[in-house]
């Protein structure tokens, strides 16, 4: 799954640690999400959406491989 969390963070001049503190996860988790190594839960995605004031669909995007299981 692709995401543009980094871009959204940059708009708000927010560091990874700042975002991690605000959504109550570790910095490693934010890094893992940005690098596509971990998919956030619905709650975590909605928290980010609220902080960035951006719809979830604009932050996260499904890739072709995500349709297969």
């Amino acid at each position: 799954m692709k995401n543009n969390i980094r871009v959204e963070r940059a708009k708000l001049r927010m560091t990874q640690q700042d975002l991690a503190d605000r959504v109550h996860v570790s910095r490693q988790t934010i890094v893992a999400i940005e690098q596509g190594k971990f998919n956030p839960s619905t709650v975590l995605a909605l928290r980010m959406s609220a902080i960035f004031n951006t719809p979830v669909n604009d932050i996260f995007e499904l890739e072709e491989g995500d349709w297969k299981e």
């Binding site: 570790s26 910095r27 490693q28 971990f38």
Partner: protein, 145 residues
């Protein structure tokens, strides 16, 4: 994590300390025991195995420094893999017991293998696998400067 209560992170240190003590007892038993055909059931060895069981039980149920959903995900995956490995070992264990009971006294080996097989082994596999997966995941992350 709201639904899964774990011990505070400080208990990890206690767990490793007890594991160290257990390792020391096992080494002591190995070098001091004079009944070489039954060294697995000398007192120090049994105490060592019990200490390791307690240590890994504590470590399995103690939090990481920061518990969040990613750690929970790694924890659940590790539990699943541990269950599969342990199921395979249960199937292969009787074969190993038959072979090893010819080397050591069968009754004596049965006692210690029960403690190791039922209690210690799954805990050991789970804790070591979890630590390894966590280390591997964290190592692969590239932090921005």
């Amino acid at each position: 994590m709201k639904t899964f209560k774990l011990l505070p992170h400080g208990w990890q240190t206690a767990g490793w300390t007890i594991a160290g003590m257990g390792a020391g007892m096992m080494l002591w038993g190995f070098f001091l025991d004079t009944h070489k055909e039954s060294f697995l059931v000398c007192e120090q060895w049994v105490i060592g195995v019990i200490l390791w069981t307690i240590a890994f039980l504590i470590m399995a149920f103690a939090q990481e420094e920061y518990e969040d959903e990613r750690i929970h995900s790694i924890r659940m995956n590790t539990l699943g893999i541990t269950a599969i490995i342990y199921a395979a070992m249960i199937i292969l264990n009787p074969l190993a017991n038959i072979l090893l009971s010819h080397i050591f006294s069968p009754l004596a080996y049965a006692e210690i293998s029960t403690i190791k097989g039922i209690f210690l082994r799954p805990l050991l596999i789970y804790v070591l696998l979890f630590k390894f997966f966590l280390w591997k995941e964290n190592r692969s992350l590239k932090y921005e400067e």
